[in-house]
């Protein structure tokens, strides 16, 4: 039974809270809901950076849009005492990610930086991960996508274009993280400095609601955000241990 014991030992290690502390980096995003205006700049920035296709009206109507970050909106109260709250929703890069354990081919896994990563050419498209994800942030390619020429000239050469039958999702702009790490290495430095790498959504946010960094660095902005009294995780009760921290909106959301 040593195989089972080994497996259980690994499993326990994998599920141990805080196991990510031994990672090189633990990339984290904080989103201040008191700053977020719901302007959608992050959505288009992500589409531009990550070669997300335009699916067209018909596919969109079937719920097959490809937007790795989206703005969710929740109304509270009734007219005239009505309020609208916005919340940007993207892959939470959970440290206990339900999507990872369910993939039959390990196409989605946790990398050494604490990112929930997707290996496109390993994915066989069972879509189980999308079913298990409580945040509904995994997107499946139902089609091969087409860019009307010359729109394809805009495609980012640092990011692969995904094919039909493959699941995809937010990567925290892993190509930018890689570049920053390479730069740090080339400069003879050991680590990436706080603020040196920003995913496209964080970079563009006009209200500076989104902040990105390494929570293993106690001095980083996201570390401070994580310890902020307004910090919380969405659907915390599921114990997914997300890497996205939200800061509560101030004031009652209901009128």
């Amino acid at each position: 039974m040593s195989f089972i014991n080994d497996f259980l030992a690994s499993w326990r290690e994998y599920r141990r809270p805080g196991y990510y502390e031994k990672f090189d980096y633990a990339w984290t995003m904080s989103i201040d809901l008191d700053r977020c205006t719901g302007c959608e700049a992050c959505v288009t920035a992500c589409q531009a950076e990550n070669n997300l296709p335009i699916v067209g009206e018909d596919e969109f109507a079937k719920g097959r849009e490809m937007q790795w970050i989206r703005i969710e909106r929740y109304w509270e109260g009734e007219y005239p005492n009505v309020k609208l709250g916005f919340i940007p929703m993207l892959c939470q890069h959970c440290d206990a990610a339900p999507c990872e354990t369910v993939c039959p081919v390990s196409a989605t896994y946790h990398n050494q930086d604490g990112l929930n990563a997707q290996i496109y050419n390993r994915c066989i498209g069972t879509r189980s991960c999308a079913v298990y994800c409580p945040y509904e942030v995994r997107y499946f390619n139902y089609n091969n996508h087409h860019w009307d020429a010359p729109l394809d000239e805009q495609l980012n050469p640092d990011v692969s274009v995904r094919e039909k039958g493959v699941m995809e999702k937010c990567t925290f702009c892993i190509q930018r993280i890689r570049q920053a790490k390479d730069q740090a290495k080339d400069d003879g430095r050991r680590r990436v400095r706080d603020g040196e790498v920003q995913p496209a959504c964080v970079q563009t946010c006009p209200a500076e609601a989104l902040v990105f960094g390494d929570r293993n660095d106690a001095e980083s902005q996201v570390s401070q955000s994580m310890n902020h009294p307004r910090a919380y995780h969405v659907l915390e009760e599921l114990n997914t241990d997300p890497s996205v921290v939200y800061l509560k909106k101030v004031g009652s959301n209901a009128g």
């Binding site: 205006t37 589409q47 709250g85 805009q154 500076e208 902020h228 009294p229 969405v234 101030v250």
Partner: protein, 761 residues
């Protein structure tokens, strides 16, 4: 391949890091037979692909004038980001700015000059060469010019600033014409008029949201579509959570909740058109309760006497207690700020309303101080953005002149009045009377489709230019717009087309420059001569400005101390006049600028079609917003197609039940409803501008686009709205959590802000 050698290619693609400007590189490349970057199937020896080059330039997707940095790889633009050094955008960008690449790489761009063949308008457009196009147009212009009939030429552009605007003025003046017009649907002309009347300023002030503690916004969707959304977004974020122990509070007064209304702490629906009356009620309370102690207190008290809190409460529908509370908070929370715009500035009483709103800033001493209203210095170049702007009545005059045969040549530059003027203006019909219409647009659109000659311009990412944001940020800012990629097609920069025409017409005495770049270099000598630079020599200065993507002077003006007594006397707001009787047309129509499509000009960008509307999450179409009570009374649910009918036309669109709109108001987004604007825009939704009444704002003659009444007729048809939003309520999941504590835990995240430092004079 081509005769370009490896060294030149390296120059073309740049060597990584921040580029010194594609312009320099393009100039190098012009010496060679090819003017185009050629895709390298086999990369040249020693060339390592994969190094990005960034160019700083200026965004032209709206009139805010944000500085941007464009990331290019192998000669192609890949991504646009805000330029961190530019005080307007500070490294940030909005959704429309991000989509600039879809303008550049749009498959529906015009690829070269076209001439309408044969007689009559339905003739086919056939490709011609630039030489043919320029010489044919020059010939026609020359006949009128020689005849002293230059005034039969009209130049109608979108709003442009900086040296391109100067060039237009020079050119049109040389033609002997006085008809140089800029036309934008959303130009805030009523705000210009209000600021002029109140403070004697011909330029808009800078509203310092960043440092304010209490903002009263009367209809201005400052985070979505009003003046400078990126800069306002920065200010909003900082005001909210960027200061230790201080959290700015935001109040939005408007009949339908906008993006800014949703972000605000409090959303107040006042009766449409009474926003100015509400402002005066607040003013009355402040003055009568002793909140204002200036020497002209008596004058203010007299002119505000008619606006007691009780009577204002009746007129506006806002409870007296709320008015008193707003007034007290506004006076006591310093610095506070009042802004007005959007629909509030576009009723029949628009200017009076905005005078009333801005007078509040005067009453509580917000003028010229941090967190208040700061006056901008004189424009560095030209007469500013308002000088040539056409109002609705100017456009009617133009149409009238066209019908009477007084316009022989109309040159259009990137403006689409057929789409952005109501049907009642009959502008399309008037255009049909003009013998020669020339369009410099980069895209086919509803107005360009009527042109006889099309000389397509480069997009802003391929052109030289400059921009001086107006309103600025309290001090002078400018930036040079430089090409970031080689032109994709056989198009030319607008400035170069003008200079080409001038050469052909023999106007080289007045317009001696060979191209836009040379013209800019010469013109920027004047800015260099202002001495606000440490660069040694003009060449160094020019390179510095290109590299940094911004130039500025941090000197600030001293605000005028008082408001003229006759102005105080004139303060007052009439009840708004709506077109159509309330019996036949029971609803007030509230069109609003789309967050993504602007006034319709961005409807041809696929990203903008597919990004959900922030408030409704609808994509790809038009919709009619109804209050839930109104909808249930009429038996309407989401997706029921209704006809929206004004005295001047009707459009049909599906209902969206919108929880935050007044029961007697219906709203529609502007932007869709194109039929000649390329594959992504055509045949989607409807254009609400079409059915607007030709009601004018009483002082400026601008279109009072918020003062139309409509009725609704269900058609019995249904359309499923395409949208992302599913369940629109939280249902106890606590996805968005809130806290009561205002400033718990101190400030968050301002590492990436660059402070705007202002040196007081």
């Amino acid at each position: 391949m081509s005769s370009i050698d490896r060294r030149d290619f390296l120059k073309l693609v740049g060597a990584g890091g921040v580029g010194t400007g594609a312009g320099f590189m393009l100039r190098e490349s012009i010496k060679h037979p090819t003017q185009h970057l050629i895709p390298y199937v086999i990369p040249p020896e020693e060339f390592s692909p994969g190094i990005a080059t960034w160019y700083n330039t200026v965004c032209s997707m709206c009139s805010a004038g944000c500085g941007i940095s464009v990331r290019t790889r192998e000669g192609r633009a890949k991504k646009i980001e805000g330029n961190p050094a530019h005080p307007v955008s500070q490294g940030r960008l909005c959704v429309r700015g991000q989509a600039g690449l879809h303008t550049l790489y749009n498959p529906d761009r015009l690829t070269g000059p076209l001439l309408r063949a044969g007689e009559g308008k339905p003739g086919e457009l056939i490709p011609i060469t630039w030489d043919e196009g320029i010489s044919q147009l020059a010939e026609r212009l020359n006949v009128l010019r020689d005849d002293g009939q230059g005034n039969r030429i009209c130049f109608l552009s979108k709003g442009v600033r900086g040296h391109l605007a100067e060039l237009f003025e020079l050119f049109v003046d040389q033609l002997g014409s006085s008809r140089l017009l800029h036309y934008d649907f959303a130009h805030p002309q009523t705000l210009y008029a209000a600021i002029d009347r109140l403070f004697g300023e011909t330029h808009l002030p800078y509203y310092d949201l960043k440092n304010t503690r209490f903002l009263l916004s009367f209809g201005a969707d400052y985070l979505g579509s009003w003046i400078s959304p990126v800069h306002h977004g920065l200010g909003f974020g900082h005001s909210r959570q960027g200061r230790d122990g201080i959290r700015g509070r935001f109040v939005q007064i408007e009949p339908r909740m906008s993006l800014s209304g949703a972000a605000a702490d409090e959303w107040i629906a006042a009766n449409p058109g009474t926003e100015g009356i509400l402002a005066l009620g607040i003013g009355n309370y402040i003055v009568s309760q002793g909140g204002y102690q200036g020497s002209d207190r008596e004058e203010w008290a007299a002119s505000l006497a008619a606006y007691s809190v009780e009577s204002v409460a009746t007129q506006t529908g806002v409870p007296a207690a709320t008015i008193a509370r707003l007034a007290e908070t506004f006076a006591d929370t310093q610095p506070s700020l009042a802004i007005g715009g959007g629909a509030a500035g576009n009723y029949s009483n628009g200017v009076d309303t905005l005078v009333a709103v801005n007078a509040l800033n005067y009453l509580v001493g917000n003028l010229g101080r941090e967190g208040g209203l700061v006056f901008n210095p004189e424009p560095v170049v030209g007469r500013g953005a308002n000088a040539s702007q056409a109002t609705y009545s100017t456009m009617l005059d133009l149409a009238q002149d066209a019908r009477q045969g007084e316009i022989e040549i109309l040159i259009l530059n990137q403006t689409n009045p057929v789409f952005t003027l109501p049907e009642a203006a009959e502008f399309r019909e008037a255009l049909a009377e003009i013998p020669l219409i020339v369009s410099l647009s980069s895209f086919m659109d509803e107005t360009t489709s009527m042109a006889d000659l099309i000389l397509p311009s480069h997009t802003y990412l391929e052109s030289w230019g400059d921009d001086f944001p107006e309103p600025g940020v309290g001090f002078s800012v400018g930036a040079i717009s430089q090409p970031v990629v080689s032109p994709l097609y056989d198009t030319r920069a607008t400035g170069d087309i003008i200079l080409g025409l001038a050469r052909e017409l023999g106007l080289t005495d007045a317009l001696p420059w060979s191209d836009m770049e040379e013209y800019l270099q010469e013109s920027w000598q004047g800015i260099y001569a202002r001495g606000s630079t440490e660069a040694e020599g003009f060449e160094a200065f020019w390179t510095d400005v290109l590299k940094a993507g911004v130039w500025g002077e941090t000197t600030r003006r001293v605000a005028p101390a008082s408001v003229n007594a006759s102005v105080i006397e004139s303060v007052g707001v009439e009840a708004p006049v709506f077109s159509g009787s309330s019996d036949n047309y029971p609803f007030i129509f509230h069109p609003y600028l789309s967050n993504t499509l602007n006034d319709g000009r961005d409807a041809n960008l696929p990203w903008m079609q597919e990004v959900p509307d922030p408030l409704t999450s609808v994509v790809y179409g038009s919709w009619v917003e109804l209050n839930p009570t109104t909808a249930s009374e009429m038996g309407l649910t989401e997706g029921d197609v209704v006809e929206v009918e004004s005295p001047h036309g009707k459009v049909a669109a599906p209902v969206y039940v919108y929880p935050a709109i007044m029961p007697n108001v219906i709203a529609m987004p502007i932007g869709q409803g194109h039929d000649e604007y390329g594959r992504y825009a055509n045949g989607r939704g409807v254009n609400p501008i079409q059915i607007l009444s030709p009601q004018m704002e009483s002082e400026t003659g601008g279109l009072a686009w918020a003062s139309t009444r409509v009725r609704l007729t269900p058609t019995g048809q249904r359309i499923d709205l395409v949208k992302t939003g599913g369940v629109s309520r939280d249902l106890g999941r606590e996805i968005i959590q809130t806290t009561e504590s205002d400033t718990d835990g101190g400030e968050t995240a301002s590492l990436h802000s660059i402070p705007i430092t202002v040196i007081p004079t």
